[in-house]
Symmetry: C2
Subunit: 557 residues, 2 copies
């Protein structure tokens, strides 16, 4: 039962080995350069990728998969670009049946081959990173550089990270073992044991509108590598990045000698609720979901035949106690609020500041001065429209605009509409900052996804930590940060973060931002608070995607 190395494994063995080291050390590492510069990717890559993307617009997406009955087009670009791509759509039964049929040969190929083929899919996606970045940009509303990084390089890093965890988990036990038990004066008992890695069944990945690749890749590749065929159900607003992904995966699988139906795209016609139909299928044994708390909770409660991994919503919180770099604090937080117009699941929402103000390297700052400092940093980033849109991108959908219209109170910074210089139909909004009293928990105690943040006036830093603990404990959070020059406060914040189960960043005043997590080093989400039931990526994220089934027989004495 020894596996002959598959050529795709051999080709990527070094990368996989390096990734295995990275997940064990969790220092800095990246496999896919994040700079779209011609110096890194060559002079022609950007134009070729954009041309490949443009060629798709207005056409049927070239995807030959079973069960296609008709073609649907559901995307509306936040940049106002007419996408007009239609996708094969049809019979859920046919998709699930085709996926299930592909399982045994993929299972029997073994961990090493599966991981090698998955690594080749990543390499092929990387070769098409500019096309992918354009697709992410024009469906999610991210600015180009962010789409290239978060939607391209970082998504691939997260995918490779999941692949490494899956490989580590599958190979922590040998494929075979000899067992020899002493038996007193007689011959020892000798057995040969074989340990099969057995996938759970069909896996379903439900993508989101804002990060169609970054949030989908870890689950997709963790499930595929562990032997499960994957049905990818994209958000109706961001199909193209995942259609490209599915097409490339299918090509590589076929080249490697496997059934391409191991990866299938399941788009939905408006109102079809195909995600729910798929999630309740008995063949579907794994679900990965990123999106609203309401739907994530529904999946957890109803897709009982499956193991369900969810990333939902929360109230990301910043505790401001004091700082020795007030300008850096304002710049750093201002950038975090502005990036992608706050449409990241990791964007800070609640900035807790003592009503009496804070001490800084610029002397005492009142709460209003703190709020004004952050607002000024946002204002500076967004003053020039051409520069602003490279940070803000565009607004992903009308839900965000509705929340912007709804939010009220003591406005520190008004949201402004900006005309996008390159895309006149783009919907662009700058962040708003609203000042609230600590008792306005009905407002700040829930998520306002989009460019909406609150400066909350608390009695003291101790009070801030109480609010932090209470709101995050109840509603969850994906990120948290603290600013303090006092080690005791930093320790208390860390203890509160551990109690609430949320990752904490301390005194970020430079080029690391609370809303960014680095693959191979930072865990994204923790699974320890209501915002998510899993982390990207740890052992728990991969270990439940397969089981071990053993056989044993005697060896000759």
């Amino acid at each position: 039962m020894t596996e002959t190395p598959h050529p795709m494994y051999t080709a990527h063995a070094d990368t996989l080995a390096r990734a295995l080291t990275a997940i064990a050390e969790r220092g800095y590492w990246s496999a896919y350069p994040e700079s779209p510069s011609p110096r890194v990717y060559g002079e022609t890559a950007a134009a070729q990728g954009e041309a490949a993307f443009r060629a798709l617009l207005g056409n049927r997406y070239p995807l030959d998969q079973p069960g296609t009955v008709d073609w649907v087009a559901t995307e509306a670009s936040p940049f106002g670009v007419d996408l007009g791509v239609s996708y094969p759509h049809g019979d859920v039964d046919a998709l699930v049946t085709a996926a299930r049929a592909a399982l045994p040969a993929w299972r029997d190929a073994g961990p090493q081959t599966r991981v090698g083929v998955c690594a080749e899919i990543l390499a092929r996606l990387h070769a098409n990173i500019f096309e992918l970045a354009n697709a992410v940009q024009f469906t999610s509303g991210q600015a180009f550089v962010m789409a290239f990084q978060a939607g391209g390089a970082h998504a691939l890093d997260r995918a490779l990270e999941a692949l490494a965890y899956a490989y580590a988990e599958m190979s922590r036990h040998p494929g075979t073992a000899e067992w020899e038990k002493p038996a007193g004066k007689g011959d020892p008992l000798r057995m040969s044991k074989t340990f099969h890695v057995v996938p759970r069944g069909v896996a379903l990945v439900i993508g989101c509108n804002t990060f169609p690749t970054w949030n989908s890749y870890p689950g997709l590749f963790a499930s595929l590598a562990t032997g499960n065929p994957v049905v990818v159900k994209p958000h109706p607003g961001a199909v193209l990045p995942l259609a490209i992904t599915v097409r490339i995966a299918r090509e590589v699988l076929a080249e490697a000698g496997f059934d391409p139906n191991l990866v299938l795209l399941a788009v939905e016609a408006p109102g079809e609720k195909i995600a729910s139909t798929l999630a309740l299928r008995p063949e579907v044994r794994i679900v990965d979901f990123t999106g609203s708390t309401e739907y994530g909770d529904w999946l957890e409660a109803n897709a009982r035949q499956a193991t369900v991994y969810t990333e939902k919503a929360g109230v990301n919180t910043i505790v401001v106690d004091s700082t020795d770099d007030f300008a850096g604090l304002c710049r750093n937080l201002g950038f975090s609020l502005t990036l992608y117009s706050g449409q990241m699941c990791t964007t800070p929402q609640n900035i807790l500041v003592p009503a009496g103000g804070i001490s800084t390297d610029q002397g005492h700052k009142s709460l209003d001065e703190v709020a004004a400092g952050i607002a000024a940093a946002v204002g500076k980033l967004t003053a020039d429209p051409a520069r602003a849109v490279e940070f803000t991108g565009a607004i992903v959908n009308d839900g965000v605009l509705a929340r912007l219209a709804e939010v009220g109170g003591d406005v520190v910074l008004e949201s402004r509409a900006i005309d996008h210089p390159a895309h006149p139909a783009a919907v662009v909004r700058t962040p708003t900052i609203v000042k609230l009293a600590a008792d306005a928990v009905d407002t700040y105690g829930r998520e306002w996804f989009g460019p909406i943040s609150f400066v909350v006036a608390t009695d003291s830093t101790a009070h801030s930590l109480d609010i932090f603990r209470e709101t995050v404990g109840r509603k969850g959070a994906l990120t948290a940060a603290v600013y303090s020059t006092d080690e005791k406060v930093l320790d208390a914040a860390e203890e509160a973060a551990v109690d609430a189960g949320v990752h904490l960043s301390c005194n970020l005043t430079g080029q690391v931002f609370v809303n960014q997590s680095a693959a191979f080093s930072d865990f994204h989400a923790s699974g320890a608070n209501p915002a998510a039931n899993a982390a990207l990526t740890d052992g728990a994220y991969v270990a439940g995607r397969f089981r071990i089934v053993q056989s044993r027989r005697h060896l000759p004495a």
Copy 2:
């Protein structure tokens, strides 16, 4: 944040290191000698252990824990011995509150200290193994040697195995890491990251009547080692082995400087349903259960705030195709059916034999000859009462007797009552074997826990494999075996076992039995079929019992 090694860790570091090697290699290893011989444990150990056990009878069990309102005694020994031990009983609120309060200091002690303290608990249990074995024997009905092995040495091995997995999982990531990202021409970005292992909350372990220690220890120690306080809810019929366990755990925890309320006993008064009350508490975030499918399914459906690990019932199956050692086959299966009167979750129930018989080293054997051969082996083991009871032990409860009375059909071997030479009030029954047609799936397609097995006449081995796949796929199984001299049949059986998700033993004719699994080498249950949703022990069994919460801050440039 470096941990100074706790003395209990230092004391057991070598054992833990050896256990970590064992779980990675999965060859033969054992930390606790399974022979109760005086040559191993000393001349006085057996008598002292029995005396310690006898001293407990008729008394209040010495356990000082919070919330005790009254004392309850619920055990009735299958051997007819009057146990009369009463246990503290009372306020669920007080137990859960005390457990929750003990969490932070235990969490903050870190993985190494926790694992060291847990290893010391195991060593202390081992020092009391004869007392423990008596307690298992007289509550479960196991014969002494089995109680010593399965309830003592093997249970401790399984506990240590779970401890090793927990330690491996917690230490696969460093406690701290440095991250240095190149930043073009500027100084690199440098951060220090701390990764906290954070337990899920209070863990609940629900024990069973037949294997109070063996089935409870893995979950208990996996949860405790990962930082979760554990409330142990024993079966009302087998409290004493877990009361001893809880007492010793509390003593060691207190000695080590921790709150003894990290391990608590929650006995129930008759009809109280305290397991359900505990399982639904919001503080309870992990449940480990061994027992009926009905209650396991209830826990999975209702204890939604918790991660639930269940081992339930199934239809263990033997496919008999051919053999080159017919006598060995009969002896081996006869022993498996007789051991503990078939009251193991791993005892074979359905023996699938082609109606046309099989080829053997003794020539062709008809189905009736196969059945008679197995029956004769059982008969030989149980002919002499004094010898028989050392295999059969006693019948654990009236449910088993009811099934024996209910089962009907073409009886190959009648169950007999045996007078126990040492315990006149013991309820002892030998196995029955019933012959069924393949269409009697209403009978053999469900579990008949106890000394009840079926020889099912199939059309062919291919038909046997179809039945195997179908019944195990639908009802689950913990064990399966195949007998064949044909490699193609063995391969087909292995494929069927992988498809059905059940562990397979091939051609067992010697001193390894299908109902026994060896810690550190054999996985018990797979989690891949309806009989259990988890395996003892793999990465998935421990990874979900904690989360990682990180903090990060800049390092000086």
